[in-house]
Symmetry: C2
Subunit: 523 residues, 2 copies
Amino acid sequence: MTRRDFINSTGASYASLLAWGFLQPAPASAFNLPPNGRRDDGKARRVVVLGAGLAGMAAAYELGKLGYDCTVLEARSRSGGRVWTVRGGTKETEKGSDAQTCRFEEGLYFNGGAARIPHHHQLTLQYCRELGVPLEIFNGANEAAYLYNDGGTGELANRRMRIKEYHNDMRGYTSELLAKALDQSALDQQLTKEDVEKLIDFLKNEGDLNTSHLYKGTNRRGYKTKAEPGAGPVAGELTDPYGLTDLLRSGFMQPVFYNVGDYVYEQQTTLLQPVGGMDAIPKALEKKLTGKIVFNAPVTELRKTENGVRVVYQKDGKPTELTAEFCVCTLPLPVLKNIESDLSGTVKRAADFVPYIKTGKIGLQFKRRFWEEDDHIYGGISRTNMDINQIWYPSFGFMGRKGVLIGYYNFYSRAEAVGAMPITEREKLALTQGSKIHPQYPAEFDNSFSLAWHRIPFSEGGWATYDDATRKKFYPSLLEPDGNIYLAGEHTTYLTAWMAGAFTSARRAVEAIHARVGEYTKK
Amino acid sequence: MTRRDFINSTGASYASLLAWGFLQPAPASAFNLPPNGRRDDGKARRVVVLGAGLAGMAAAYELGKLGYDCTVLEARSRSGGRVWTVRGGTKETEKGSDAQTCRFEEGLYFNGGAARIPHHHQLTLQYCRELGVPLEIFNGANEAAYLYNDGGTGELANRRMRIKEYHNDMRGYTSELLAKALDQSALDQQLTKEDVEKLIDFLKNEGDLNTSHLYKGTNRRGYKTKAEPGAGPVAGELTDPYGLTDLLRSGFMQPVFYNVGDYVYEQQTTLLQPVGGMDAIPKALEKKLTGKIVFNAPVTELRKTENGVRVVYQKDGKPTELTAEFCVCTLPLPVLKNIESDLSGTVKRAADFVPYIKTGKIGLQFKRRFWEEDDHIYGGISRTNMDINQIWYPSFGFMGRKGVLIGYYNFYSRAEAVGAMPITEREKLALTQGSKIHPQYPAEFDNSFSLAWHRIPFSEGGWATYDDATRKKFYPSLLEPDGNIYLAGEHTTYLTAWMAGAFTSARRAVEAIHARVGEYTKK
């Protein structure tokens, strides 16, 4: 059987396509299953979808292809949920905070929620292809960005260094130490003499060691600016490496400084982003669902009925009812737990106990893209152990006049503390701490827009953060239908936090509903 | 003195700006020097520039700002020289080869020469800013691209592997070995017990070691496709690491497989490229020189006169003469050596003996972007020890219908051998060898366009490749004016092969001419 035969075979389920690594050119209809979302009387089966985020819209879109009649209820006046791009004019009022209206210049923006697509998230990429969302590179790992260790001791305390300096020095010293151990035959390893020679060859290159197998610095960490190699009579002068013990003792062994771009599977090169902002994806889905989404319609009750479900939502300040045969509920668990429902006790306990991350971002508009002009940083991420945690530089609009960078991206207790501050204090903190890495901040600052997902109505958290215990105890119940109610959303997958989680969960719910209807039809 | 004061001070030369790391917002006129390119009689001083590549055009552009009257003689019918983007309709006939006309689809292209801009090439970036050339990320280091070792022995011979597998396995094993040496106190290093603990922390993260400090694989190298982590009841299953001795013995210790994206200063992240093709830069410069460039005008003689220079060039089949006070000669040395001239013996010997690299590329158009759809490769480079050497995937136009990748990029004897083949044989070689990495090649291939720089008229080489001896013997003479003739081009810098070399050399020549004229004025 060829690949194409396999894909075209009607028995190929989403799960098996995934299993075979075949999530590719958009299927004409979801999973290539025959549409049969109609009842014996020829009417379409009705499905109510709660939430017009990616999971809800993808579910409605795929169910629509199969002949189901979907209505999507969305509490906000916009689609996308946590896939949200902040631009000039964007408004938000967090619980307990002042209202904000974004004042960024035309063309400048940052992605407040989802912000990158790993190259191996095949389903997300497939939806971009199918929906015609153009993509560009998201520069995740930039060797020119900075690390800043606040505190620590020694030469390298309280200062910034380029990531390339840290990486190459640590690789140099560790390669030197291992070469030394191998030279001394200090390791009772199973390697032959020839293997050791080859490994030392590798180390000489990995660490840029000299002929005596010592690390004495490398041009990989850059040249002294005073002798930039160029048109002059001599080549550039190398910079001096930092000391190994200085590096070890300065605090740079903290996890925040790890080589995330290499280490984390989801953050390895290559990462992608939609041109013009991540909300290009929900906007494209929304277009496929014209007339199917009811906005400003927060759900207050979710009931099981004899033949399906009954949902109560607020519309123009009045409770309104909707009945359907099935419900796909994509509400985040912190929102779901405050809704009156007939959900099973297991699901209700999951909603109460599955933890969600507290997380925040701030977009800072500057009058000048000094990070590009002065520091030669084009995209990528600087990392620090301060409350701001990360600074993200935009991977688009290079060399424009003004620019917006993400001044903090933080998590857990840091996000909680910063999120609890008044809006103006968040800005002050971002500027004060960020100035330690970029002294240009005070002179160049324009305005800001900040957010704390755990304080934003209808989200109330960043994403589900299972530990082993909650994964074991609560996760399986979220995968099973609860009567005619099917849960979806990143929290119902192992791809928590990722758009891929929303999409895979939508597919799973659609497939489960469709299989059940198939059973009816057989009877 | 603040940065801005420094930049604004009229005494700041290009060299000192470079030295201070200040190559930034475009100067109103070159180097902020007062224009004085006029003679006592008020007439502009005349300069003839040989070659409308980046060096020649940048020199003419800057001299023009200073009041000089420049004429640029260009042998080809186009500007840009080795900054050349190949698209549908592009024609070239190499010495001894059949004529080629490119048949790529609208919107598809590859950069035949210069193809990436390092983030630290400040002057190139400054010109892009000044000329309004929009940039995007060039994805140089893609962990998802492949390595293919042709030959070798053992499990890993004659097969492709993802770069992420190689990187993470080698880092894992080397970290394990060093941790072992440190655990055994096998190294008489100067590290304290606390330093060793911190270093082992680093190694545990660098190599993703387990609690016993052993490398047993890592999710960084990916998951088994059969258990892609997703919406199901279990998380993904890890892939198994390759064996250390398999890796060492398979041939993967050859330089071609080194981690170039990390190792080579000029190829580290972040790299950039102009949107729409590298020739956006020469096209923008050409626009600034309207009426100043004479195309189809190959130079045949370069003479010194009492008051300057006399140049003879072919125009419409007839020798034509041009006189000027100064000449900026940017012709590549293999071209210069065949021109009748009054150049000094030292410069003539340099033209004879400075070696130029032989190098070739082929653009392959495919009916489908299978490297994206099937392999999840969005930009980046695969590397092999076969004659094709490298495969470059485009960093633009993701998920389009068709696509052009660079099917080989080779150097030295490989480039010589492949370049000597008939055009159709080059294509065959690229397809045969490339198929070992991408079995989709034969089914998806459309058409090709290949080039060998050492065979292309008016270039006759890739770039100058000095060794220590030629650098010492010939380089200094290229920096000095030879009478009123000033040399420029990448071969007159330490930034050989880079557009930054062309630009810095142009600046140096302009500054030297301008300083000399300033001396006249003082007299």
